[in-house]
Every structure is written in C-alpha cells, then in structure tokens.
Amino acid sequence: MKPVSLVFLWLAISAPRLGATDLIKVESLFYRLGDHPAWAASPMSDPAWKPMQGFDPALAGAVFWVVGEVDLPERSGLQRPLSLEIIATASYELWWDGRLIGRSGQVGQDRVSEKPGPLDNAFLVPDDLAGLGRHRLAMRLSSFHKSKKAAGYLFHIDLKPMALPTRAMDFHSTQRLPFLGIIFLVGLFYLLVFAVDDRRTDTLLFALLCLSVAAMIVAESWRDLFGYAYHKHALRLQSVLALTAMTCFLLVVFLASRFFPGEKLRWLLLALVGLAAGFAASRTFDGRAMAMMFGTLVLALLLLARAVLYGKPGSRLALAGISLVFGLMVWKRYGFMDRYFFMAFGLLLLGLTIAQALELRARSRARREAMLTAARLEIELLKKNIQPHFLLNTLTSLIEWLEEAPATGVRLLHALADELRLLGQISNRQEISMEQELALCRSHLAVMGYRRDCRFSLETKGVDPAQTVPPALFHTLVENGVSHHGGAADHRLRLEMESLPTGRRFTFTAPTLEASPALAEGTGLRYIKARLRERYPGRWTFRHGPIPGAWQTIIEIKAA
C-alpha cells in the first residue's frame, strides 16, 4: 500500500460502511506434510489430514499443504466481489475450488529455492466461484525462512467483501498516522530548541522521547503501510519491543530530569529495573511490551505524584496525562497496545509539550532577570563610590586634615583615590581574585582610619589570594563592620577561610561596642546576597549574629 493512497482511503473509512461486520473467519483447516498437486482437490476426510491449530514449528522444515472448506450462506451482508485475506508466515500458492487464484512469494524445497512472500495478502475470489454453497480452499506452503524464535507464527484466513477496508486500512491502523506527523515535528522542534537555545537535559530528553514515539509509530505501522516479507515479522516485533522499551525508559528519565534533576541517576536505574522486570514477566512480545509499559508507567505515576506533593510547576498536567494513559492501558489491556497507545501517547505528549513550553518561557524569563540583576549589581557597586555618607563624610574629613595637618590630608586623599580606583576596576566583573578583594577592603580601612583617626586592620587566615569571589563581597562586610564599630577598643577585623568537604566557609568578624538589631538589616546585605545568588545559585548560605564584643558573619559556598 503506497502512502499516497492513504489519504483517499482514510477519507473512505469515514464514510458509512455497508455490512461492515460481515466477515467469515476460515478456521477449520487441515494440514499435511508433503507435496502432491492432487491434494488441491483431495477429500479432507482422508485421515492423513491433521487439524491445524496455530502454526506447528515442525512445519518450518518442509513443504506442506493446508486445505479447508468454506460455506457461503445466504447473507446479504457479504457483498461481492469477495476477497480472501491471508496472514501467514510462509510462502504459498492458493487454490479455490481447484483453481489457482494467487501466490505469495515462491514455494521452494529449501531455504535457497524458496522466495519469501509478504506476510499480508489479499486475493480476489473470482465471481464465478463465489456463489452460495460450499467451497474448497487449498494452499501449498513452505516456510524455510521463518525465524527460529518461538514467537512470531501467524496464520489467519478471512473471507470478506472487498469493499470492506483491509486490516491495514481500518481506523485503528490509520488513526495513528496523523500523530506520527505531529509527534515527529514536536520532537524535531525541541531538538532544535536544545541545539540552539535551551541546552538543558530535559529539553533534549523530551525531544528524544517524541522521536522515539514517532519511531514506534513507524515501526508499528510499517506492516500496514508498506508490508514486508513474512520472515521479517520477528524482526519487526523485536524493533517494536525495543522501541517500546526505549520510549518507556525515556519517559521516566525525562520526567526525572524535569522534576527531580538531582536524582536522575536513581530514576534511571529504577527505570532499567522496571524494564528488566517487565521483560522477564512474559514470554510473548505483546506480553513483554505490556509489562514494560505497566512497570514504567507505575514508576512515572509515583514520580509525578511526588512532584505534585512538592508543588513542582507543570507536574499536575503531566500527572493527568500519565494517569490517562495508564487508565486506558489498564482498561483496554492488549487492545491498548494495538489501538489506543498512540492516541493516548499523542495526548500525553501534547500535555508534556505544553508543560515544556511553559518551562522554557519561565527559564527565558529567569535568564532575562539574571541579566538585569547583573546590570543592577554593577550599578550598586559603582554607587558605593558616591554614596553621600561615604564620599561627603570623607571629603569633610579631608578638608579638616588639610587645614590642620596637610601631610595626613594628602595621605587620606591617596587612600581615597586607591579605593575609588579599585572599585572602578572591578565594577563590571562577576568575580575577582581574593587578592584584589583584600586590597579593596584594606583601602577602605585606610580611608576610615583617617576619618576616625585610628588604625583599622584586616587580619586574614587561610585565605588563598588566587581564589575568586564576587566583587566587593567582603568590602561590604568591612564597610558595615567599620560603620558599626562604635569606638570599640579592638580595631582588628578578621577574615578566615576554611576548606570544607562540601566547599568553603568564610568567617568574618568585626569588633563592635553594640550588637544592635540595625546590624541585621544593613543595606549592604542585599547586595551581598544578590551577588551570592548570581554567582552560586542554590548553593550558598549566609548567617550572621552577635558574639561577645563583635559581630560575626559566616558565608558558606558549596562546590558546584
């Protein structure tokens, strides 16, 4: 069946059918090993003919014949012309009432001489042989190419009006095709999004999931769309099973990556375990596919239930989708795989697509805000230079020194120039070396020393000058520390760094006379926290509080 004709046939299906359910399953069949042309007409009462039930593996090794009788009763439903639809994992010649009416492939004596025919065939029953009454069907078969695997034997014969859509053309086979287009496009789109814009694992996994489902539809529909020689049936079943496994696996891993990114490995292993269990739970292709789907859908439901409990955005939509698929599967069971799988999965993917689009929008908004934040932080850093409290007070001090002790005034002027220059150099950076940061802190302490007419110092312990920190992080703490110093006797500020197994910890101590609540809400704290958030999202902590005679700040940064 060429795909082009599908469009017309799809339309044809939507037209009302005539006697659509009238169909005769030819079930009482007999077989006999060997090869005699006369058997086309031989009576079935001969004990040499054995009843055929399914497809005996022994038949794979020789030429054999199958005969049967079909009764055509008075039934208006069976519109002529009639066709015999045969599904068989064999090559054969077909006789009807003694006349050869068709072939599938070429029957041979061995593997070399047999040419495998298509798995599905439809043969026109000549009108003059399609009258009421009893008819005789005979087939000469060989099946040397059939795969040795136990599964994959098929043998069905149906007699039906030709006007009736074939198995390939009925609703359940064709309704999955539009989904193929949609799901493939969605997968391709998200693949492009991943490559070009949002390089996050869950976007990639979603794209692969869609493409995997699309591939499943192609594999599942191959038989109906293109047909294949019978010996490839096992191969197709294996492909479908493998793709089902991959789809189920990708579904769980995608959901994990989307809702619990830190636990991807755990869910990945659980998915593999679920698949393995499903595989072991049955011996048939269909059984295995169902079991694997069942196992991974249960896993997906648990994952999403947990995500909903945690209030993760988009989780409820996803849970609704998966529940729908799961419910359909449990209700329809084996019918589900054939008929409803792609529609259900199509709807599920629709739901997930919406959720993913929302997620992408949220991410791009977060990126925009992060950029705005970076610009704002740079401005805040630059503003430190010109805060009235800092600059105007320093200038007033400067004037006094210049009038009373010019040499000191000049030193203050240079210290001020140092601090302003350093602040200017670092303002547009996201991180600077500890060496630069300490130089900045010390220049501020020098300026404040002249203003307060005392000597402040910054003692460090365990600090690595080459390590990087966000700009003016400790400078802000030093500013706060000095402004709240209140004339305490101790003029030494301390910064200590410790390496922890999880990352690093900075402890900053500033002596103060009063541990007041004002210290807990310094304006600089917003700047510090914004810098930490920008540079180390989700892996920093900030604590501060009074200790005897001082105010202590502890910043911990976890390694990435």
Binding site: P388, H389, L391, L392, N393, L395, T396, S397, L398, I399, E400, W401, E404, Y450, R451, R452, D453, C454, N480, S483, H484, G486, G487, S516, A518, G522
Partner: protein, 234 residues
Amino acid sequence: MRILIVEDEVVIARRLERLTREILGKQLSWLKRVGNLQAGLAQLDTRPIDLLLLDLNLNGRDGFDLLERLVARSFHTVVVSAHTERAIRAFEYGVLDFIPKPFDRKRLAQALARFRDAASRSDYGARYLGLAKQGKVELIAIEEVRYAKGAGPYAELVLESGRSELHGKSLDGLMMILPPCFERIHKSYIVNMDHVRCIRNRPGSRYELELANRVVLPVGRTRARYIREKLQGG
C-alpha cells in the same frame, strides 16, 4: 552659650569644635563632643544646653527618631549631615538649620549667627511640635496651634481642640522655627495668622486680634502696624 556636638566621625567632630571655638570665642561657655546617641541623650539629661549640633546618620542609624524627641526640648538643634535629601524633613521637625557636608567655616558661622539673632526665622517652618509627656513625646501638627503664650522659660500652646499644653521652648525660641504664618504679635503672644478673623481698634490706640473661636489677643504697639499690613496684604 552651651553647645553639645553629637557626631560619630571623630575628625569631623573635631572640625566642628575647632571652628565653633574660633567663631564664638568667649561667647562659648561650654562645649562637649560625644560620639554616639546614648552618650548624647545622657548628656542632655544631666545638663541644659543652648544649641545641639547633630549628625543625622549616627552609626548607620537614622537620626529622625532622635529628632522627634528633640523637637520638644528647650534648646535649638542644627543638623550637620551628608544626606541633603533629608534637609526638608529635618526642618519639618523644627531644626534651626541644616548644614550639608562638607562645610566650611563660613557656613557654620552662618548657622551660629542665626542662632544668636532672635529675629531670625528658619528656612522652612516646622510642621510638628513635640510635647514631652512622661518620657514620651507627642507630636502635634503645627496647624492645630492657634496661639502660644509666654509662660516663663516655656511657652503655653493653645490648640484648636481647646487643649492647652506646655512646650519646652520659650517664645523667642519658638519663633525661630515656626513657619511664616506665625507672628509675634506681642511680647507674650505668638499667633497663627491662619486662625485670625480680624484686627480691631481699641481705645487708647491699642489693637487686638480676634481669632476664629472668638478669643481675643492683644497686639503690641510696636507690632500693630506690621500686623495690620500683613492682614490686609495676605
């Protein structure tokens, strides 16, 4: 003159002291510098002063809660601050002057001159006056004050509600910080001209003002002409 300086920046405090001594010379009888609020308040409780030089941003805190309290006291306050955007608000609390940092000798002298000139008025009048009550200060809006009457070193404020309250400043002191709608009509009276209905002639070339609530206040002879002109003009 007794002056208290409250400024946490040592070098700036030194500057204020040095320049104040240079400007006032012998007129300065007492001057002290403190570096924080607590010391300042303690000092204000132990000893009366005439003028307070105050930095608004003490040790990172906002001096306005302090200003609220000071508005009720007998002495005048001059704010010295780097935050010029707070100047207007400071005046609303009845400070005499606002000196932006950095400042030179001339600017400080100007503020001190204002303090010594009884006739000086502040740039923007106060919007609130404070009434000291049992350790707390109640702020009243200036519009509520109908008139003030001299009561020794204090002033008795008569409010719209009919209430009468004592304020820590003398009439002279109050005049320096009240908005333009207040006038010293008499040695013992300051009136809110917005509450005046009319001026009347009395026998013996005396004048009196009638307020909206029918209260009558005398007008001093020397000020009569000015008050009359002001009433006619405004």
